[in-house]
């Protein structure tokens, strides 16, 4: 149902704001050129007819042929998807590796300078636009220091800057979530019991508290991965990374309707699937969910 809604919105929204014919033809093309190209591209029928044809084909798994790339839009999406998926796990890993300890440290130092510092880092991470961060990182680490390549896919060194840029937003998200979740868990009865039992503070915090504090964080994994998939548009553009983010951007700019529909619908499928998997995993990790 949700997918049908997404498909319908994308179909009509795309057509409200322009036409691929105007993107293909030069500014001095004649009306005759334009009419001929509209017919060649199959855009000459009434909108409702085009929609019915789109729905009919989509139900058979055919999301059309990209006007720009002249290949099935689904193929174009899946040829770029591995490039995006090559970055996302690393960004997620980096975000967790930095964000979770930061959240714990902030919770343990509630109200003092360290907590405020972590809060500032979190705010900066959320507030700094990806394009600005990306360009700054390129300037410092590529141009000035010469340590890393400026962009494009390549060996491990090519991953560093895009991964940092993508994960900056999530570091902040993880840190804030873990902090609040930790504060809640640290007040619970079982933590007091652990202390009464004489367990060391390290074991209490990093084993008992964090393990339980991570359960609500897990539920937001789906949202975070969704953010990474959609947020990759800017990062992939800045770093010339040929993933689905940039493919979506190109589809919008070029008014490549079939490609735009395919990328949005397939991204929606991807995000829905990830959320479903996270829900299942959540039920597995937290027995209370299964019991209810």
């Amino acid at each position: 149902m949700l997918l049908c809604l997404v498909a319908t919105i994308v179909f009509f929204l795309g057509r409200l704001t322009g036409n691929p014919v105007d993107m293909i033809l030069p500014e001095d093309a004649t009306g005759e050129d334009r009419a001929a190209l509209i017919k060649t591209l199959g855009l000459d029928g009434p909108l409702h007819e085009q929609y019915l044809i789109f729905v009919g084909h989509a139900l058979q798994g055919d999301l059309g042929t990209s006007i720009r790339y002249r290949q099935p839009a689904v193929d174009a999406f899946f040829s770029r998807l591995p490039n995006t998926l090559a970055v996302i796990p690393w960004a997620l890993l980096l975000a967790m590796a930095v964000g979770i300890p930061l959240g714990v440290v902030a919770a343990l130092n509630r109200g003092n300078i360290i907590d405020r510092l972590v809060g500032t880092v979190a705010v900066l991470g959320v507030a700094t636009p990806s394009f600005l961060l990306g360009v700054l990182l390129i300037f410092v680490f590529s141009v000035e220091l010469g340590w890393l390549p400026s962009g494009r896919m390549g060996g491990p060194s090519h991953y560093v800057l895009p991964v940092i840029t993508l994960s900056a937003f999530l570091v902040a998200g993880f840190a804030r979530l873990v902090r609040s979740s930790m504060l809640e868990v640290m007040d619970s009865e079982f933590v007091k019991l652990a202390r009464i039992k004489g367990l060391s503070e390290t074991v209490v915090i990093w084993k008992h508290c964090l393990r339980n504090a991570l359960i609500p964080v897990l539920s937001l994994w789906g949202v975070f991965i969704g953010n990474l998939v959609t947020g990759a548009i800017v990062t992939e553009t800045v770093f010339a990374w040929p993933g689905v983010g940039r493919l979506t951007y190109e589809a919008v700019i070029f008014r490549d309707f079939p490609l735009l529909q395919a990328t949005i619908i397939l991204k929606a499928v991807l995000i829905l699937s990830i959320n479903l998997m996270v829900d299942i995993l959540y039920a597995y990790v937290d027995p209370r969910i299964r019991l209810t």
Binding site: N19, L25, P26, E27, L37, T40, R70
Partner: protein, 548 residues
């Protein structure tokens, strides 16, 4: 004595060895030339699926065009055809093919390939911009012999050779008939073959195109580099960073980046005459706008006088732009009295706000008026938004209250279609690309029918200047005598210039940041923004260092 003779012999031998070594080094194709560009279009190597910019950037490297360039002056010159002749009745163009050309699979390039290529461009499945016009105007194509092809047209088409030149359009690209028929379209698109100085190696979608230099002599020039990589890098600051770090030798940039690129030690190349930034008014001839201030040519002239073009050139274009010729004309425009129009433009496009205010007062608007103005920029010319904002400010200074609206380019062309409700009675920014033949561009802006901009009139309202323009345009498309053609072109330019409906602001340039350690000094083709026809002429840094 003998010792001295021997010494001279040794010296001579050493000189000869050194000279031949230098010659061999000059002939050797080594290294990889890397070019970072903001768009690779559809990234398809099939010419019938790509538009003009994509063709000019990357297809040009591996395909030759039937008609080529004048590399020194810009505009049309010899290509696959070394010359072309029009029949006495004006209905047949005969193209004489340059002998000895070969495709990358060593098949000879003949008139059969030319006929096949033109017919393929005109086929129903072609996305070529001019496919419809070619279908209408080209009646038949005959192969006379291996090196002669005749194109028969249904009416005199004086501009046909220019339309088949890459200086104007991509439809002249010559494809290999035998290979394409043998392997089929799908295989051809996977493993394309052309006759250009670079052969296709690899295409990585959304990332890059790789080419390898041909080793034989080529009429466009034998490449000095062994490999050519065209990288797709949409973000300008990333492209510049790549040139600074040496990851790329050349990157396309905008004028706003020129100063910083230059300060950071990069060479900056400006290609003259690639475009005009213009503004234009819509629907001013319609009865409902009869009393509108912009329906008055004198007021439109006053608006032009209120624009300080030199300020725009100095501060937005960083000094790398020129005062323009009249609409769609350049220093390389064919059949135009250049001196006359250069002189006219200097006077007409002067900055004279006092005169602008005076005209406004004389025409009944001493306190100005309200003007709707749409600001937009075509891809790759983002500075046009700044120019639009600047002229709106300049008009405000003479009392015109400008209601400025910004449109992303993709959403702008639909506004020009139909009744133009969002634009009629107002103006907008626009652009015209640098091309040597102007009737084509005038037609799209001023034709009264179809879906063009219809600036002078439409099917129901076409007044004196509109009717005169239409007559001149019709005469021009059939006029063969160069002197009469020049006179007609001059008159057409004059009629349109005097309406002040479509007004140039500046003549822009194409800009590139260059790492002088990665590529030697080269010149672009005047009026040709893209470098697809220039890569083979670029020396390596050791062959021709940049002059400091």
């Amino acid at each position: 004595m003998i010792g001295g003779l021997q010494l001279r012999k040794w010296a001579l031998a050493s000189l000869l060895v050194a000279a031949s070594a230098a010659h061999a080094a000059a002939q050797t194709q080594t290294g990889t030339l890397i070019f970072a560009v903001e768009s690779l279009g559809g990234q398809t190597l099939d010419p019938i699926l790509e538009g003009r910019p994509g063709n000019a950037v990357y297809q040009a490297v591996m395909y030759d065009s039937l008609v080529g360039f004048d590399f020194a002056k810009g505009g049309v010159g010899p290509g696959v055809a070394e010359r072309w002749v029009l029949s006495a009745d004006g209905l047949t163009w005969t193209f004489h093919i340059r002998p000895g050309q070969i495709f990358h699979n060593n098949d000879p390039l003949t008139a059969h390939d030319v006929k096949f290529s033109l017919e393929r461009q005109m086929a129903p499945n072609s996305l070529a911009a001019a496919a419809a016009v070619m279908r209408r105007t080209i009646k038949s194509i005959d192969v006379v012999d291996d090196l002669t092809v005749r194109v028969n047209t249904s009416s005199p088409q004086i501009g046909l050779p220019a339309g088949l030149s890459r200086a104007v359009a991509p439809e002249g690209a010559v494809m290999p008939k035998n290979y394409l028929e043998k392997v089929g379209e799908d295989e051809f698109r996977r493993k394309p073959i052309g006759s250009g100085p670079w052969r296709f190696v690899r295409s990585v979608p959304g990332d890059r195109l790789e080419f390898e230099a041909v080793s034989h002599a080529h009429w466009r020039g034998r490449p000095n580099f062994k490999n050519l990589h065209l990288l797709l890098v949409p973000e300008e600051s990333t492209r510049v960073a790549m040139v600074r770090t040496g990851e790329a030798a050349i990157a396309s940039i905008g004028p706003e980046t020129m100063l910083s690129a230059s300060r950071s030690g990069l060479e900056v190349l400006a290609v003259p005459g690639t475009m005009q930034a213009i503004y234009q008014f819509y629907g001013t001839y319609r009865p409902e706008f009869k009393n509108s201030p912009v329906a008055n040519p004198r007021i439109r002239q006053a608006l032009s006088l209120a624009i300080d073009r030199q300020q725009i050139i100095d501060h937005i274009m960083n000094g790398r732009a020129k005062m323009p010729f009249p609409f769609a004309t350049f220093g390389y425009t064919e059949f135009l009295s250049h001196e006359r129009w250069d002189k006219w433009a200097r006077e007409a496009f002067r900055y004279d706000p006092v005169m602008a205010r005076k005209i406004l007062a004389e025409e009944g608007y001493p306190n100005g008026f309200e003007l709707n103005f749409a600001n937009t920029a075509l891809p790759g010319t983002q500075y046009m938004v700044d120019i639009g904002t600047a002229i709106a400010d300049m008009w405000t200074k003479v009392g015109v209250r400008v209601k400025l609206r910004h449109y992303e380019w993709g959403s702008f062309p639909p506004l020009v279609r139909g009744d133009q409700p969002a634009l009629a009675g107002g103006g907008s920014m626009f652009r015209t690309a640098g091309r040597p033949d102007i009737p084509w561009r005038y037609n799209s802006a001023l034709n009264t029918e179809g879906v063009g901009e219809r600036l002078l009139g439409d099917a129901s309202t076409c007044e004196a200047s509109c009717r005169e323009y239409l007559q001149i345009h019709t005469d021009l498309t059939a006029e063969r005598d160069p002197v009469k053609r020049t006179a007609l072109t001059d008159r057409m330019v004059e009629v349109v210039a005097n309406t002040w409906l479509v007004v140039p602001i500046i003549e822009g340039m194409g800009y590139y940041a260059i790492n002088s350690r990665r590529v030697g000094e080269f010149a672009a083709i005047p009026g040709r923004h893209e470098l697809g026809d220039v890569f083979e002429r670029m020396p390596r840094a050791d062959q021709k260092p940049w002059k400091k």
